[in-house]
Symmetry: C2
Subunit: 337 residues, 2 copies
């Protein structure tokens, strides 16, 4: 196929067909995709579904523990899974800069295929556009996805059953993804290697739901970190939340990099972390189940829903103080996902 | 909101929320979107669906008869409708260059809302990313979509029931979209204004299917024009197709511009044209129904499936000759959609 992407790879003509057959069909191999219909035809086991979309513009494309392709697949899987749905089908749409390396594209596509297989989802439809050199920065990927949803889990994404006394749970340390990107950019000339936490959490989430414990809310803590989720949630539900800072794990090198750069890890993007809310009686059981999964080894209860300061999330700091967690006004880390 | 897009509009923080509330929620107004869940929760009337995705990178963003937003909504609706499905839900994901005009974004979002409403679909989930100035060219939009599919129409997108004698139908003139973009680029300094044919064809397609005539194949003739569809179809089904050039309408100014620029209108993108295949006995009836729709006034039978030159589409030219329609090797018009 040559070594680089040409404008013709996005023309819909011979070069496009070659790229689709030799690259996408080879890696995303499945009978639905191979029908080459305008739309993928799918027969779902349920008629209630979760449907989501995200575009990925992360820079650089490759970083420790992942790349834009893995991120795009995991991100969409997680958006579906935190809604209580079982992710099943994904679309993949590429906007590629003319001259981009075919070898790098293959590495990215291969990661996507690997991650989709691990998570048990099929990549069933796609699109490729090529723009002239300088009109986009290397590669952007959009993934949209569909999962089937059991009606009894419908309230998980809206959080309508949350009440005072419920516990806030997270499946591990915060800030790893954002700081892995900063490290990959060699920002501040650090010699540290921080690995992204990017992972598909659908299997862990299924294990939680299978316990029959009542999960009242889940959301993945991506762009804006856990602070942004807590702010959105307290504001939209007019509830109070108290987080105990000492229970929130931050890896040592992430903590160090944040301190030096002046970032608060609570606002740093994660790509494999969820905030989960459950009643006090179920919380320990859920944490136990999460800890048995490879992506939840250090799961912990980090706070609770309280019956005061409605509309606000408050952080109890290590030295005994309290401060309000506010929503980020500006962008601290562009192109983090 | 100020006048221009800032990096903070893509941060997930305060500015993002402001943009979502003041722009997207205002225009795409519907209860599913407003739940602000990670995924849109949908209850479908059928469990067989069509699922599709496309990214739009058209340049310029505005052209006669449309803009990137209208194109993105119509394109995804048409991909679903030509599969025999009823388009219902769409996602919209924006990649925006820092500094982009908020007023232009509003015009584009307003077009999307208008087009979705006309077509009877809801925009239920979305995403916004902002990249630094120079890292993308103004604005790219991805739309993915879901339509419900009656099992009896499953063979329309695969074309498995096509046989010799079947008629090839199109709903009007070719090449309008591609040449409208070239005119908007002021390519060759033309003073002509050519209007795109960009339109949502789902209502017309429903009228056709409601006749109970047997539709054997449909596809929208976008990137690569009708030539590319005919090549793909003859090759993948190993059938022969003969097109009568004199029956294929090309608007006068499109024809003139193509001649001057050295383009063949058969390869020029359309955004409101479908190729439909039906049995000879149903063809006239279908054309009648199409002509009654605003987007099918000049519908015509333009050829038929023949029992020779299998794997090839052949054009019978005005002067009595025949030539093979071959697939485009290279890209003649980058960023046409």
């Amino acid at each position: 196929m040559g070594n680089n992407i040409l404008l013709g790879h996005g023309s819909g003509g011979k070069l496009s067909h070659k790229l689709i057959k030799e690259l996408f069909f080879t890696y995303f191999d499945n009978p639905i995709l191979k029908l080459q219909t305008d739309s993928a035809l799918l027969t779902l086991e349920r008629s209630t579904i979760a449907f989501t979309t995200d575009s990925y513009v992360v820079d650089p494309l490759f970083f420790s523990g992942g790349n834009i392709g893995k991120l795009a697949v995991c991100g969409t899987i997680n958006d579906i899974a935190v809604s209580g749905a079982i992710p099943q089908y994904i679309s993949a749409s590429f906007i590629i800069e003319e001259g981009f390396s075919l070898k790098e594209l293959e590495r990215i596509v291969s990661s996507m295929a690997h991650e989709a297989k691990k998570a048990g989802v099929l990549i069933v439809t796609g699109d490729t556009k090529v723009v002239n050199k300088g009109q986009c920065d290397k590669l952007f990927i959009n993934t949209s996805g569909i999962g089937i949803l059991d009606d009894k889990y419908k309230s998980i994404s809206t959080g309508e059953t949350i009440q005072a006394g419920d516990k806030i749970i997270i499946n591990g340390s915060i800030g790893d993804h954002g700081m892995s990107i900063m490290a990959a950019r060699n920002f501040g000339n650090f010699k540290t290697e921080i690995k992204t936490d990017c992972a598909s959490l659908n299997h862990m989430i299924k294990e939680i739901l299978d316990t029959k414990c009542l999960v009242k809310f889940m959301r993945d803590a991506t762009r804006g970190g856990i602070a942004t989720i807590l702010c959105e949630l307290t504001e939209s539900k007019n509830i109070g939340i108290e987080i105990d800072e000492s229970t929130v794990a931050v890896n040592e090198n992430v903590c160090g990099m944040c301190e030096l750069l002046g970032f608060d890890p609570f606002y740093i993007a994660n790509e494999g972390k969820i905030i989960l809310i459950a009643s006090a009686k179920d919380a320990d059981r859920i944490v136990d189940v999460m800890r048995r999964n490879e992506f939840g080894r250090t799961s912990a209860i980090i706070g609770e829903v309280v019956n005061n300061h409605h509309g606000k999330a408050v952080l109890k700091t290590g030295i005994g103080g309290k401060r309000i967690i506010d929503m980020l006004a500006d962008e601290q880390l562009p192109r983090i996902c």
